[in-house]
């Protein structure tokens, strides 16, 4: 297979995404009062409406409409106050009425955008950056900003689930028969469609990640790619660099993780380049990403004519939302990740990288904000050490344990306290790590741990000088070598002093003391 970066030298990839998000935080389905729930026994969350029984009628969930409008506001969309539902007619066993209720030409949310800040290493996938802007120098990171336009976000209902029996790996091909579970049928679903504004698989991946953070911040979905509540399809085509006309696109499905989205698109770009460079033509088709074998395969389904007989759903009244309705939804808009990052940079003087990292995880960001509230007057000075603890020690421990922040015994107040002890040199950073480990295990306050374990850092200058002098006396040869230029031996002396203080000596002071004693004479 070709190398992506090389392919992108000759070819420009044009990528658009379709992102489906189930509104899993709602209580009930889109058009009936059955619960929205993952993992229930098959066909236990169904009723005449979502089962499409004769005579049943849909009634829209108001909270779902509010959610999509919130999503539209958060992604800079125009909110269409006058819109309606349509029927999309097609036969497939996972939709119970053989039509799906969705929206027509005018969706609740139209013409939005998101700005993506792409830093290294992701930025290096894009060498040609026309239409983008460099990150400001103040960000102290190299990379670029690119605007991804959003065509629309519309409201629809999800389909049920099929299980294929008798084939290999549950595939539809070769299956003897299939089983249908309608629990998921009519779960509220929003579909976001981007313009083909993405140029690299990294941009696609970061777009989806940003979107996921926004949806999580809004609280409209749990956005679990594993459970399918966040799903992404990609459209990708190639054109020669500098060409205006779009090439033939393929649609890519089954990219059920961020990595798969990236790798699937990267593979498909290279595959298309192969086809084109060997004189072939790209066939417009739907292809399936196979993560195990790392390639895409044509779904080989006969493409049914793309005529869904759309028409306005006669059972549902149209929408003519009032300004007040939209304003009320707007008033619920929380601080979004981008705004949060900007605030962290401005208020706490954090770097772009640190602030982005904090803001990219809703739980981490609110932990940070709570910590800063405890730090109160000292917030400015503790922000950086606190951030270091949070982004390094805390996240590393979460990675290892597989827990989320809320499941640990850590509290923002305790972590601020720890940051404070380190900032004041009461603890060395090594001691800090030990205290942190205790905190994770016991949930005790750092001060308590320090006292119990006798971990106060020795910062008594006179005492440290005494210890240093003794060490120099013990190793006169080494002292001589140092003085003759082998300054690397400083570490050796500091190590001896740390051992002598059982690790509680203030390494910074010890350092200074040796330098003074060795150089000063």
């Amino acid at each position: 297979m070709k190398d992506l970066l090389k392919v992108l030298q000759t070819w420009e990839a044009v990528i658009g995404l379709e992102v489906h998000t189930e509104l899993t935080t709602l209580n009930t389905k889109m058009f009936c009062s059955c619960p929205v729930e993952f993992g229930a026994e098959p066909n236990t969350l169904i009723c005449p409406v979502c089962l499409g029984l004769p005579g049943a009628l849909p009634v829209p969930n108001k909270a779902a409409i509010e959610s999509i409008i919130l999503a539209g506001i958060a992604t800079n969309c125009d909110i269409e106050q006058q819109t309606m539902f349509y029927r999309k007619n097609y036969f497939y066993p996972d939709i119970s009425s053989n039509f799906q209720i969705t929206q027509g030409p005018v969706a609740f949310c139209m013409r939005g955008w998101l700005d993506l800040n792409i830093t290294e290493p992701a930025a290096s996938e894009r060498e040609y950056r026309e239409g983008t802007t460099e990150l400001p120098a103040s960000y102290a990171s190299s990379g670029y900003t690119t605007r991804i336009n959003i065509t629309r976000i519309h409201m629809e209902e999800d389909a049920g689930k099929l299980v294929h029996i008798g084939g290999t790996d549950g595939r539809i091909t070769g299956a003897d028969y299939s089983l249908v579970d309608y629990n998921r049928c009519s779960t509220p679903l929003i579909e976001l469609v981007t313009e083909p504004d993405l140029r690299t698989p990294e941009e696609a991946r970061l777009f989806l990640q940003s979107l996921r953070q926004i949806w999580l911040t809004l609280g409209i979905s749990d956005c679990s790619m594993e459970e399918g509540s966040l799903r992404c399809d990609g459209n990708v085509s190639l054109r020669k660099r500098g060409a205006k006309e779009l090439g033939t696109k393929t649609e890519l499905k089954n990219m059920n993780s961020f990595k798969n989205l990236h790798d699937g698109l990267a593979y498909e770009i290279c595959r298309q380049a192969d086809v084109l460079e060997s004189g072939g033509r790209v066939v417009q088709e739907t292809r399936h990403w196979e993560p195990a074998s790392k390639h895409t395969v044509s779904m080989r389904l006969k493409e049914t004519a793309d005529d869904y007989r759309y028409f306005p759903e006669p059972n549902l009244a149209p929408y003519d939302l009032s300004d007040e309705f939209v304003a009320e939804v707007r008033s619920r808009l929380p601080e979004l990740p981008d705004e949060q990052r900007a605030r962290f940079m401005e208020v706490y003087a954090l770097s772009f990288i640190d602030a982005s990292a904090l803001a990219s995880d809703r739980d981490v960001a609110s932990f940070f904000d709570e910590g800063m509230a405890f730090a109160a007057a000292q917030a400015q000075e503790l922000a950086k050490p606190f951030t270091n603890l949070l982004l390094n020690d805390v996240l590393a421990s979460l990675n290892t344990s597989g827990h989320v922040l809320a499941e640990t015994k850590l509290t923002p107040a305790h972590l601020v306290e720890l940051a404070q002890l380190i900032a004041k040199d009461t603890l060395s950073s090594k001691q800090g790590k030990e205290v942190f480990a205790h905190m994770l295990k016991t949930g005790e306050a750092p001060a308590q741990i320090v006292e119990k374990e006798g971990m106060q850092q020795v910062s008594d200058t006179a005492a440290l000088e005494q210890i240093a002098l003794e060490i120099l006396k013990e190793f006169p040869d080494k002292a001589a070598e140092y003085r003759s230029g082998k300054t690397g031996l400083l570490g050796f002396f500091v190590g001896k002093a740390m051992a002598a203080t059982k690790g509680q000596g203030n390494p910074k002071l010890i350092n200074e003391t040796f330098i003074r004693l060795l150089d000063g004479e």
Partner: protein, 101 residues
């Protein structure tokens, strides 16, 4: 004439209705006769007229609160179906023999 026999076959396929021999000819003439009666619609001057999709003037924004109501018993639902297995609806192979997919 609006529809050819081929058109009729395509429409039948789209609506998932198998046609029996000889039915196409009758359907073609019936459907064409009906479509002929719809002509007035195509000849009406409708410039500047907005469509009315819902008959109740001014009715809009009908929604319900997000409150759970009990679902059906699975047995009740499945009892309506001819073919079920393990609490699910059983359908024959989607891509099997004779499939036009």
């Amino acid at each position: 004439m609006y529809l050819t026999e081929e058109d009729v076959r395509e429409i039948a396929a789209y609506t998932r209705i198998a046609l029996v021999d000889g039915e196409v000819t009758d359907l073609k003439s019936d459907l064409n006769a009906i479509i002929e009666t719809l002509k007035p619609i195509t000849q009406y001057d409708l410039s500047g007229v907005e469509p009315t999709f819902h008959p109740i003037d001014g009715l809009s924004n009908v929604m319900r609160e997000d409150v759970i109501k009990p679902s059906m018993l699975r047995e009740t639902a499945l009892a309506l179906a001819t073919s079920t297995e393990n609490g699910q609806y059983r359908i024959p192979t989607i891509l099997g023999e004779g499939s036009n997919r």
